[in-house]
Assembly symmetry: D2
Homo-oligomer: 269 residues x 4
């Protein structure tokens, strides 16, 4: 093993003269074992993809990348919307930066019971905890991507029988008060807005129920985002949202999508 | 620019004493603009992912990677099942190797007319031209992955109305005589085996037709592979095939799949 | 074949009462064979991924998805920054929409000559043509992602010999006057900002030159984005840019990145 | 909620007359939270991608997909090479099948200490537990994909200074006695065969050590697979292996790879 017999220069801390401040510098595509906590459920181990960065003033040549991992190591057993402010504050302090950002993307698992048999299995939902802090304050958001069934209203109406349906995804991202909204709540909003929830384990009686429920609740991608939007606008905890619905069309080899973004007006209506 | 003022050593050609012959050494994940030709259609430009390799005898340290690109450059305007033998022979000769392999994966586009309106649009099919040559001879295969609609027979039968359906894929790989079977033929076999073909452009009258056709032709993944297998076994040009059907289940967040592999018996039955 | 014997209802055109206007509704993940044209090069066939959408007023239930494909069919032989305004205008008119958007992502290939031998091969660059139009006007941007070699200045300085280096990517997105900036120019800016360009075909004398050039030009991700930013700020055609550098670190299993976004001040300095 | 008021037909159990037995039918692309156990380490929670299937005789129409999830639910807290035989036996029994297969792909995390500072962080390794059982017996394999640094011997020798290096991956798959070989052992074999291990957290003194270690140990992809092969051939526990080395070339936009497959001769030499 080579040992370090001489002092190793701190190249990163040297001055830079190009006068270009850097908005974000850090690490991305980092896969890490973490424990995530949602407000209403038990903490859950999962595998996250992380992106962490800080700003760099124009006069400094480089940041110290290893410190991102050190901060993550201290918090990886408790990654939550509630702990993002602590992690961000520590990133900012440890890196000596004016601003810091973090995005934690991970699959979150819930046990789901089939509607008739009650048979249960895990369903995976892609989630993102995101946060940014600077002198002006902190800004966090929570995103959940929910697989659903969608059944086409047009196909149903114009056909003598049947209706094309498919796997769809509803992605909801919200800004709310600190840890006020849970992953579970957003999953449920998404599922109510589509033709049917999906499950990992269905027995035949469940399949019958799910098939007929979807046929009874046809929705376009436009309907899905409007259903979600209506519900979130009525929820005074939500300050901002973006919702996107995607259908992996069963009659096409492309996706149909719709998107709405909304911010609660200043008077809170 | 640095110029090369001294002779550059050929490190790769040096002897190796570990006595480990190498099955395959080469380049992969190479993205290249090529022109592919199918037996029955006009040549088509497309973007391919290539994997090319040769064997290396135990006494040689390394291969010469740049020669793979040189061979590809000479053939990129005419990549076809019919030209694979030429490309393979050139790889083998140029690299001085006992055996050579190539895999060319690319999207292939066909213009498809909607069933009622006749409106037309391109549909993309993932294809692979694969070949290997050694002292014993040459072995080539053609693979096509075809998007389809599949509608569940169980869901249809047990429900009072509706039936879950979804986007599925049928992947067929065949070995046949030199350039005897076309991409188009395999696409058609796949589509006949599923509930309905898919299209990029459907007007409402087409959507009605496709919805009802799928409802009239329910298939499990098991049915799809059996339908394909029945047809390919009856086609005397086919010496071997592997077929895999996948359904991106609309009621689940996972895939249902089935696979059959078959080789024509030596007596050709 | 089922024929459409009855009038098929236009479900999408019906009124909607939820009072939620939709920002974007359309198709995505559509793979299509197109011909792209850059300002300075011959048109080039390639395989694009497209996302096209329009806005939908609150009182209309759904859009007409097939029309996106119809518009694309008419323009697929000539997709260029110069033709985006025409395509957008046609999307808007054909869909009867207040605003329309398009994103065309595709690999663009250039023939690159090795620095010493002059041997040539294609290199692939991921590009995006993006545009949006509404009553207020049109907004277009061009993005190019360029593979490069980056060599770490810290590793070079603190080590007695060697320096870790790796494949990196420089993504530059710009807003400029209509078709004023070419893909080639952005590729060259990115390559000048890194330790060395990359090539698909290098002979040994080239490999020697590239190795030493990279060692002579060490850069952090911070340096890469600053080098790009300095050059683009000095180019008066550029109204806005975002540049991101990524290193697929050879000593880590994650990515190091830096990002700068900049808009030319109103007084044009 | 729709309740199931009538008996639901078991469509899958009906006879099929096409006379095509199916090799594999089941579920794939199933993402599940599991606990994996390696022979030498504490059990570890992780997120797996699973593929499970059974064979289906020619006279049966379909399999019962929900049972795969039921079997997984019972074993998800203890997925290990040591428990694969139990899971396979249960799949076979529960599905009434002649043969059954399972593949469990997952990231496995190890804490790695930096070589000089001792600073520690997690590194992720993609692993696969695979097994198949039929009347003839059981066949299991373990695969590990290890990120490494590789430094090019040719570039080092022909250049006055520097040497291109990059992130590489060494994938080792082995068949051995039941649970005889651990993930950790394969990771260490892979790392010894490359220019240097990689780490998630390195301080400057570590970076110096890693840079110089890589420069002192240049390897081609051919060397990497030969180094692994030499070591595994000498290990009498190993009955079969396949090793593949990949370099994400820092001077190219493609991958260089080499592959060796080997089975221990019947006389065990």
């Amino acid at each position: 093993m080579i040992t370090s017999e001489r002092p190793v220069a701190d190249v990163q801390s040297r001055p830079d003269r190009r006068r270009i401040p850097i908005d974000q510098v850090g690490v991305s595509d980092l896969r890490y074992l973490v424990v995530v906590a949602d407000r209403s459920e038990r903490p859950q181990p999962t595998v996250a993809r992380l992106r962490m960065s800080v700003s760099l003033p124009q006069e400094v040549k480089g940041t110290h990348m290893s410190r991102f991992i050190e901060v993550l190591n201290r918090h990886r057993e408790g990654v939550a919307m509630a702990t993002l402010p602590l992690i961000l504050a520590e990133l900012r302090r440890r890196l000596g930066a004016a601003s810091a950002r973090i995005e934690v993307a991970f699959p979150y698992f819930r046990e789901r019971r089939a509607p008739v048999s009650g048979a249960s299995g895990l369903v995976d939902y892609d989630c993102v905890f995101a946060g940014a802090v600077d002198e002006a304050g902190i800004d966090c958001s929570l995103a959940v991507r929910v697989p659903v069934t969608s059944l086409c209203p047009c196909s149903k109406e114009i056909s003598d029988y049947g209706a094309h349906n498919q796997r769809g995804f509803v992605r909801i991202e919200v800004r709310a008060g600190p840890d006020e909204v849970g992953i579970d709540e957003l999953i449920e909003v998404a599922e109510r807005s589509a033709s049917s929830p999906i499950y990992s384990l269905l027995k035949r009686a469940d399949e019958r129920a799910v098939t007929m429920r979807a046929y009874d609740n046809p929705v376009f991608v436009e309907d899905v985002v409007r259903n979600v939007a209506t519900e979130l606008q009525a929820d005074r905890r939500i300050a901002w949202f973006r919702v996107e619905a995607e259908n992996d069309e069963s009659i096409h080899n492309h996706v149909a999508f719709a998107r709405v973004e909304w911010a609660r007006p200043a008077d809170g209506v």
